[in-house]
């Protein structure tokens, strides 16, 4: 991470993807609970959970950075104004 990068630049540099926990949760909710998950599936779920949680924390840290950013004027008038 470059210290001189703005919160916006840092956010733009992040990978854009749907949180993998959402995709896994969808898959788990569709399956029958009586079909037990295998050990491999549980391990995979735990990995995805770690990634999903990490992603949430990353987003929260970006949000905090934005909230701390001072307001600054732009050098053009946005369309509609």
């Amino acid at each position: 991470m470059q210290l001189d990068e703005s919160p916006l630049e840092l956010l733009r540099a992040e990978n854009e993807q749907i949180n993998p926990a959402i995709i896994l949760a969808e898959r788990l909710m569709r399956r029958e609970a009586a079909e037990l998950l295998s050990v491999e599936e549980v391990n995979e779920a735990e990995k995805i959970l770690a990634i999903g949680t990490q992603e949430i924390e990353t987003i929260e840290s970006h949000q905090k950075a934005f909230q701390k950013s001072p307001a600054s004027a732009i050098d053009y008038v946005p369309v509609g104004f």
């Binding site: 949760a25 969808e26 788990l28 029958e32 037990l36």
Partner: protein, 277 residues
């Protein structure tokens, strides 16, 4: 009956009918309404994995009950964070293995990802000595911990004519009483003092109400270990029966031997020490 419960076939196995499918669908729709919420998705994954872990444990520990079960895998049970099936697993553990659903666990909002066990032993720090319910031998063991309180010895004087004046004075505990191995004569005294002292190594006997409870994991090794420890804890109390009989037969000799063991680490009245080592 609402008609939404699970039907069972002639062989007793559940038929996952309309009711169960409906509950599953409602559960899915509830999830879909929040499906783009990553936090909720993480919670959902955790909950499903946790529940699956408990289903696996249920099958491993109580396979016949699992096959016969008609409890829903989706509808929330008494403990709201878990399905009726998982609640059934908790109940079976309580009924067939060890007390689980009492003492700490009486709140339906509770999460039982890890669990505490209730203490089985008398609490030295905050309980009143209960003369009506404690065994006589256990009360005898308490004399070393309530030295300033004559109430226990008075109880034995009144009940068994114990002559308190002729008992040897109680000194500091001899370090040998904590030895792992004892002979046949001193072993019952050693067991009694370990029990009263909460030093048995058995969690059911050593924990107290006043300490933050140890939390146990839901895995087969832990559940099996706690099951065996629970049986051993009950055996500990059962073994006190023989000491109770000795008090009934000759309380004076019993107390002389017990105090001698405490003072010297050996069995035998003061001045007539009989070592069984």
């Amino acid at each position: 009956m609402t008609g939404l419960v699970l039907a069972t076939a002639e062989d007793g196995k559940p038929i996952f009918g309309f009711g169960e499918r409906l509950v599953h669908s409602l559960e899915y729709l509830r999830f879909k309404a929040k499906s783009h919420n990553a936090l909720y998705a993480c919670e959902t994954v955790s909950r499903v994995v946790s529940e699956q872990h408990k289903y696996r444990l249920y099958i491993e520990m109580f396979p016949k009950d699992w096959e016969r079960s008609t409890k829903s895998l989706y509808r929330a049970g008494y403990f709201k964070a878990y399905s009726e099936r998982t609640n059934e697993f908790f109940q079976l553990t309580n009924d067939k293995r060890f007390p689980l659903l009492e003492y700490w666990h009486d709140d339906p909002d509770l999460e039982l990802e890890r669990f505490a066990i209730p203490p089985m032993n008398f609490d030295l720090c905050c309980e009143e000595v209960d003369f009506a319910h404690l065994r006589d031998s256990y009360l005898a063991g308490l004399i070393f911990y309530f030295l300033e309180d004559a109430e226990i010895l008075n109880y034995f004087s009144e009940k068994y004519g114990l002559d308190r004046e002729s008992l040897p004075p109680i000194k500091t505990a001899h370090q040998n009483i904590w030895k792992e191995k004892h002979g046949a004569k001193s072993k019952p005294f050693s067991d009694l003092i370990r029990l009263v002292d909460h030093s048995t190594g058995n969690p059911w006997l050593d924990i107290t109400n006043c300490q933050y409870p140890d939390l146990f994991e839901w895995d087969k090794e832990t559940v099996d270990w706690l099951t065996e420890a629970y049986k051993a804890a009950n055996q500990y109390f059962k073994n006190l029966e023989q000491l109770d009989r000795r008090i009934e037969e000759d309380a004076q000799t019993f107390f002389c031997e017990l105090i001698s063991f405490w003072n010297t680490g050996r069995v035998g009245s003061e001045g007539h020490k009989v070592s069984d080592e």
